[in-house]
Symmetry: C2
Subunit: 344 residues, 2 copies
DNA sequence: ATGAAAGCGCTAACAC
DNA sequence: GTGTTAGCGCTTTCAT
C-alpha cells in the first residue's frame, strides 16, 4: 500500500506552495493556468484525494450529518434512510448512519459517537424518540446533545429543544375511515402497536374521534395492542376472530402486522377483501408483495426524507428548532378492501 | 448552541496542561488522582466529547471502515450491513455506510468519498463488484482505491488486488439438489437472475453439474434468466407453467423471485408445496413472511459479516489481500417443498 | 497570483 | 506524573 500522499507532496513536486495546491483543489481563488495544470497533473498521477479529516479540522465543518434509526432492516427505516442520504448527497453532505437496534444503550452510545464525530446535525427516527412520554434519561441525553448539535426527530422529545417533522396522523386516520365508511363498514378494528408509542397513541386517539364522527360504536374488543411485527398482527387477528361479532374491517398499525393479520385469517379460511377489509400504515414494499396487495397509508418517503434533512439544516443555521412540520399522508388503494358482505 | 469546547478549555479551567487532559481521556498514561478527578468533573460539566476529527488527524487513523452496498432497502444487504456494523462496533470501529443504488456513477463517487474520508478499509457488496466479468472502468477504479485502501468484496475483481469472502455456491446448490432429489424430484428448474452476475453464473454452473451428477436431463426451457425482483420470479413462473412439461421443483435465485413465483403460480391455481416445490437463496425475512414459508439457503449473516470485516482488517494489517474465504451455506427447510405428486 | 504562517483540536514523544 | 512542543493535513488570512 502506498504511503498516503499529502498536499505538500504535490506542492513540492509542482514547485508551488501548499496554499496554491489547496486553491486549485477548492477553487477558492484564482491560480495561473500553468500552475493549475501542473498541480492537476500530479493530482491525477497520484490519484490524490484531500483528506476530509484534515479539511474537517481546518474548517471546523464536517459536512456530515448523523442519522440514527431503530433498525435499518425494517423497510420503513430503510426507505427513509435512503431518501435522506439521496437528499444529502445532492448538496454535498455525507450521512453517517447508525442502528440503535432497539437497544437504548446502543442508541445512546451512537448519539454520543455522532457528537464526537462533530456531525452538523442529527436526525433520529424511532427507538427512544418514539416514546409517548419521553424517557427521563433520554430527555437528559438529548438536552446535552442539543447543546452542541441540532437534533431533529419524527416524534417529539419532552423537555429538550428539537426539530420535529411528523406525520399528520389525523389526516391519515381520516383517509382510512373515509375509505372504509364509504365502502359501508361499520365494525372497524384497530390492530397492533403499543399505546406507549406516540404515533400509535395518536392513531388510537383519532380512531376514537372518527368512530364518533361517523356515529360508530366503540367496542373494547376491537382495539388490540400488540407488537409491530407480523406476529403481533397474527395474534391480534386470532383474537379478533374469536370475538362474538368480528369486525368487517381492520386497521393494522403497519404493513408487517397486516401481513400477520392476513396469515391468521387465512388459517381460518377467512380472506381479504372477500371476508374483511384491511388497511395499514407505512406503505412499504411489503404492501406490494403480499396477496392481496395492501391498501396502505403512504408518506412519500422522498418528501419526508428531504423535510427531515432540511429541518436539520435549518436548525443548524438558526441554532434553534423551527416549529413542527407535518407530512401529509396519502392512502394508496390496492386490493385489500371491499364492501362488507351482506349484513348479518 | 454552545461554543464547541476543546481540551484546552478543560485544561485551563482544571489548571493542568492539555496533555494531561488527553491522558485522562485516552487512559494512555498515569495521571494523579486529584488532577484526574478535576478533569473528569469538567468533562462532565461541559459534556465534553473529544473531536474524533482532530483525533483522527493526529493519529492518522480514523477507526472507520467504509461499507458500500447496492441498496440497503434490499433485506439481503440490510442483514449483512447490520452484522458488519455490530462486529465493527464491538471492536470500536465506526462504519460509514453508502448506497450505490445500483448506479455505477454513484458507486464510484461513494468509493472516492470513502477514500477521502481515510477509512481504514472498504467493504463492497453488490453492484459493480458482482459483475461476472469486471467492468474495465471499475477495475481501474479499484486498482486506484487499493493503492491506499484495503478493499474486500463478496465477489472478485479481475485485475485488482482485493480481499474476497464469498459463498460456497457449489455447496449451496448441492444442498438444494440433495433435498429436491431425495424428495423425488427429477424435473428441476432454475428461475431468475442474470448470467452476467458472477454468483448467478456460478449457481448455474453448479446446477448443470448436479443435474449430471444425479443423472437428470438438462432442459433448455427450465433455465430462465430474469431480474432479481418479485416481478422477475413472476415472469419466469408464467413461462415455466406454459412449458409442455412443467418442472416439479423450482430453484429461485433469491427470496424475492421466489415470492413472484408463488404469485404467478397462485394465479393459475397452482400451489407450493402441493403442486410444486420451491427453494430459494438468501434466507431473508421474506422467507418467513410469505405462505408457504420458503425453504431457503442461509449464509449465517452474522458470520458472513464478521468474516468480511476481519478480511478487511487483515488486509489493512498485511497490506495485501489474503486468499479467498468461503462462507458455508446451510439450507433452512420450511414449508415450500414436498415430494412431487404421483408420477404423470 | 502566490507564498508564509497561523490555526483547527488532538496525541505523542521528549524533557524534567 | 506532568508540561512543552511538534506534528497530523488542510484552509485561510495576510503580506507581497
Amino acid at each position: 500500500m502506498d504511503r498516503t500522499i499529502t498536499i505538500y507532496d504535490i506542492a513540492r513536486e509542482a514547485g508551488v506552495s501548499s496554499a496554491t495546491v489547496s486553491r486549485v483543489l477548492t477553487g477558492s481563488s484564482n491560480v495561473s493556468q500553468g500552475k493549475r495544470e501542473s498541480v492537476l497533473r500530479l493530482v491525477d498521477k497520484y490519484q490524490f484525494r484531500p483528506s476530509t479529516v484534515a479539511r474537517g479540522l481546518s474548517l471546523t465543518r464536517t459536512h456530515t450529518i448523523g442519522l440514527v434509526v431503530a433498525d435499518i432492516r425494517n423497510p420503513y427505516y430503510a426507505a427513509l434512510a435512503v431518501e435522506i442520504e439521496k437528499a444529502a448527497g445532492e448538496i454535498g453532505l455525507t450521512v453517517l448512519l447508525c442502528n440503535a437496534l432497539n437497544d437504548r444503550a446502543l442508541e445512546a452510545k451512537n448519539l454520543e459517537r455522532l457528537c464526537g464525530q462533530r456531525v452538523e446535525a442529527i436526525i433520529q427516527i424511532g427507538c427512544s424518540a418514539d416514546d409517548r412520554e419521553t424517557d427521563r434519561d433520554y430527555a437528559a441525553l438529548i438536552r446535552r446533545v442539543t447543546r452542541t448539535t441540532p437534533y431533529v426527530t419524527t416524534s417529539r422529545i419532552d423537555g429538550a429543544p428539537c426539530g420535529v417533522v411528523t406525520i399528520d396522523c389525523a389526516e391519515a386516520v381520516r383517509q382510512v375511515f373515509d375509505l372504509l365508511v364509504s365502502l359501508g363498514h361499520d365494525r372497524i378494528a384497530l390492530a397492533g402497536g403499543r399505546d406507549n408509542v406516540r404515533s400509535t397513541h395518536e392513531i388510537f386517539q383519532h380512531y376514537l374521534y372518527f368512530l364518533g364522527r361517523h356515529g360508530l360504536e366503540l367496542r373494547e374488543d376491537y382495539v388490540l395492542e400488540g407488537s409491530y411485527s407480523q406476529q403481533g398482527g397474527y395474534k391480534c387477528m386470532r383474537r379478533l376472530l374469536e370475538t362474538p361479532c368480528p369486525p368487517t374491517a381492520i386497521i393494522a398499525i403497519n404493513d408487517y402486522t397486516a401481513v400477520g393479520v392476513l396469515q391468521a385469517a387465512a388459517e381460518q379460511n377467512v380472506f381479504a377483501p372477500r371476508d374483511f377489509s384491511l388497511v395499514s400504515f407505512d406503505n412499504t414494499f411489503l404492501a406490494d408483495i403480499v396477496r392481496p396487495r395492501l391498501t396502505s397509508v403512504d408518506y412519500s418517503y422522498e418528501l419526508f426524507g428531504s423535510k427531515l434533512l432540511n429541518a436539520a439544516l435549518r436548525m443548524a443555521e438558526r441554532g434553534a428548532p423551527d416549529g413542527i412540520e407535518l407530512i401529509h399522508p396519502k392512502l394508496v388503494v390496492r386490493d385489500s378492501c371491499a364492501a362488507p358482505k351482506a349484513v348479518k
